[in-house]
């Protein structure tokens, strides 16, 4: 064993050392006593900062949950949100965030050579753990992307329920693609299309800046568009939040069905009481449910099949496949124009056969991955439909546990909340 390691190390040193470095001109013998400057190395901020970040994240999650569930104060949540925007957004410049960490985690699963920093694992798991206990309090006061969108909600418009349901499917697709691309080592999709990194970095990268501004402008009318219709981490948080042990409530007490809070949520996350059913009304839902359940396996196979057809174009996002396709075009005489990619590849001296083998491996991974992605999306859509046919009796106005971001905007619309606040101030209502 030890011998093996030594051998590998030796080979390694040999390879890196023997790399052809063209010494065209001999090293001069200086006579004037000139001393050669050494190489200058500058280092990134020390790792202890990373641990500070995790500590801040943990404290912010605690506070956010406390402010939303116990203290019930929009003002406190808002202040925390501003702090998070400044700290995680502008000070830490956005990376690594919980949303992007999905990709590092996926890559770590499928690529043995990739080492993932502990901090990234913490950023991935902590918000989800909190969501399992208290709902999406991460979205309320900690996520910098949510915060920057929250600030511009000026004229939120209500969308139809149907539109919300349809647009709400996009994050699942985005999540699926992001995991597929990360797991195959192609690229980190979420980071590439992160709409706000341009602001956080003040990078003056024009395209990014235009994109960021566009999303923010949209956010004036559609509250938190990224959160609701794109964010892939939001999907995971939604799942966790639906199962959460405790969750924000609109009323501190019992709902009196006064309807006052009904339109208070800019995210359309308040579920209204279901209308009474007439006795003897036929239950159409049951038949639909059975039909949908029977359709489910068929949909899974169809989805998987359809997406596996897409695997070839999808795999072109992987470096190796991109290069291999170009080389094949050149070698079969289909093109005479070389690209930087093919020139770089030829410079490495790697045999083309090896390149093709690698590309085939990547493509086969994409094939399996796309199949799973298609099946996953089929399950998502079918569950959504099944969920819509299930009739659940609801008597009160309550936040939808999946969609509610725990922002606390609705609190002040509840008359019971006003009673609670007055009582806190010591005003007795009985007088």
């Amino acid at each position: 064993m030890k011998k093996n390691i030594l051998f590998i190390l030796l080979i390694f040193i040999f390879i890196t050392e023997s790399y052809p470095q063209i010494q065209r001109f001999p090293k001069p013998d200086f006579e004037s006593g000139y001393t050669q400057p050494g190489p200058v190395k500058t280092y990134p901020r020390s790792v202890s900062w990373e641990y500070v970040d995790v500590a801040v994240l943990l404290i912010a999650l605690f506070l956010s949950s406390y402010f939303a569930l116990k203290k019930r104060s929009r003002k406190y949540i808002f202040s925390l949100m501003i702090f998070s925007l400044i700290y995680f957004g502008f000070f830490r410049k956005g990376c690594v965030c919980a949303i992007g960490s999905i990709q590092n985690i996926s890559l770590a699963f499928f690529d043995k050579t990739y080492v993932v920093p502990l901090v990234v694992i913490a950023f991935f798991t902590l918000p989800l753990i909190f969501a399992l206990f208290f709902g999406r309090t991460f979205c309320a006061g900690v996520c910098p992307l949510g915060a920057i969108q929250d600030l511009v909600i000026l004229k939120p418009q209500k969308q139809s329920n149907r539109l919300n349901h349809v647009l709400g499917l996009i994050p699942y697709l985005y999540l699926g693609l992001a995991v597929l691309f990360a797991a195959t080592g192609a690229e980190f999709l979420i980071c590439r299309y992160d709409p706000f990194i341009g602001f956080f970095r003040f990078g003056f990268n024009q395209n990014m800046f235009i994109f960021s501004t566009a999303v923010l402008l949209l956010g004036v009318f559609i509250a938190r568009p990224y959160c609701r219709f794109l964010c892939p981490y939001g999907v995971l948080l939604k799942w966790a939040s639906v199962l959460s042990k405790r969750h924000v409530t609109i009323t501190p007490d019992e709902c009196i069905q006064c309807h006052l809070c009904a339109d208070s949520c800019p995210f359309d996350a308040i579920n209204t009481p279901t209308p009474e059913r007439y006795p003897g009304e036929p239950d159409k839902g049951k038949r639909q449910l059975i039909l949908l359940l029977l359709l489910l396996p068929l949909m899974i196979v169809t989805g998987g099949w359809a997406f596996s057809k897409l695997s070839v174009p999808l795999s072109r996002n992987h470096y190796i496949v991109k290069v291999a396709e170009q080389i094949r075009l050149e070698d079969t005489g289909q093109t005479t124009i070389t690209t930087e990619f093919s020139e770089a590849f030829r410079g490495t001296g790697m045999p083309t056969a090896e390149l093709y083998n690698r590309a085939a491996l990547v493509q086969s991974r994409f094939k399996t991955g796309s199949w799973i992605l298609g099946a996953f999306l089929a399950v998502v859509i079918m569950s959504k439909l099944i969920n819509l046919t299930l009739w659940r009796r609801r008597l009160d106005y309550e936040p939808d546990k999946g969609a509610c971001l725990s922002c606390g905007r609705c609190f002040k619309y509840c008359p019971k909340e006003h009673e609670r606040l007055l009582e806190l101030k010591g005003v007795s209502l009985l007088e």
């Binding site: 050392e17 280092y43 965030c97 050579t113 991935f124 990078g203 659940r392």
Partner: protein, 201 residues
């Protein structure tokens, strides 16, 4: 539906929900546990493998920062201290002087100082360098290849996905440990754990 309100119904629902909650927590723990086996206490940062770089000039334009966090670095130990420097002078220039128009660098970031006859020292002013790799190409094709690009980690904000790595035609970008973040030319590499951008395939 009066049976919906029965305590039994609610018990069953909350039982299922609690079960799922615990399952989700366990799954999350599993994910965390597994990834911890492939984790490192420190951070990973981006670096350029200078042996793979083909000096395509994308490093200057694709960084999210402007000017780019990529700078030209000089391995003095490899330098020939040439009077006519392939990295400093415009190819074909007649005047081997320090006039701006005879320089290759678009920002005049390379300083040329006389050491002793016939040797000249070349120093990169990294404040001016934009990482365009023009000099790297010049030195590589006409000189000893002692100039090369590196990510400067006091500048780089360590994007989770480096925008240059994403567009690099030579797949020259690797993730390296933050406490040993350089791949200098002419130095023995100490970080064989560096992971390539496109994974292990």
């Amino acid at each position: 539906m009066p049976e919906d309100k029965s305590p039994k119904y609610h018990d069953r629902r909350s039982f299922i929900k609690n079960g799922l909650n615990t399952t989700a927590a366990l799954a999350l723990g599993g994910i965390a546990g597994f990834t911890i086996t492939r984790s490192t206490k420190g951070d990973m940062v981006w670096q350029i493998d200078p042996d793979k770089c083909i000096q395509c000039e994308k490093c200057a334009i694709n960084c999210v920062l402007y000017p780019s966090a990529v700078k030209c670095v000089h391995a003095y130990a490899m330098c020939g201290y040439c009077k006519l420097c392939g990295g400093y002078h415009q190819p074909g220039t007649k005047r081997l002087d320090t006039a701006a128009e005879s320089q290759l660098c678009p920002t005049n970031a390379i300083k040329r100082t006389f050491v002793e006859n016939p040797y000249f020292e070349y120093t990169i002013d990294e404040k001016l360098c934009i990482g365009c790799a023009k000099c790297v190409k010049g030195c590589g094709s006409f000189g000893n290849g002692s100039l090369f690009l590196q990510v400067r980690h006091d500048i780089c904000v360590n994007c989770n996905e480096c925008n240059i790595a994403l567009n690099c035609p030579a797949d020259a970008w690797v993730r390296v440990p933050a406490d040993n973040p350089y791949l200098f030319r002419g130095e023995v590499r100490e970080s064989p754990t560096a992971t390539s951008e496109s994974g292990d395939v």
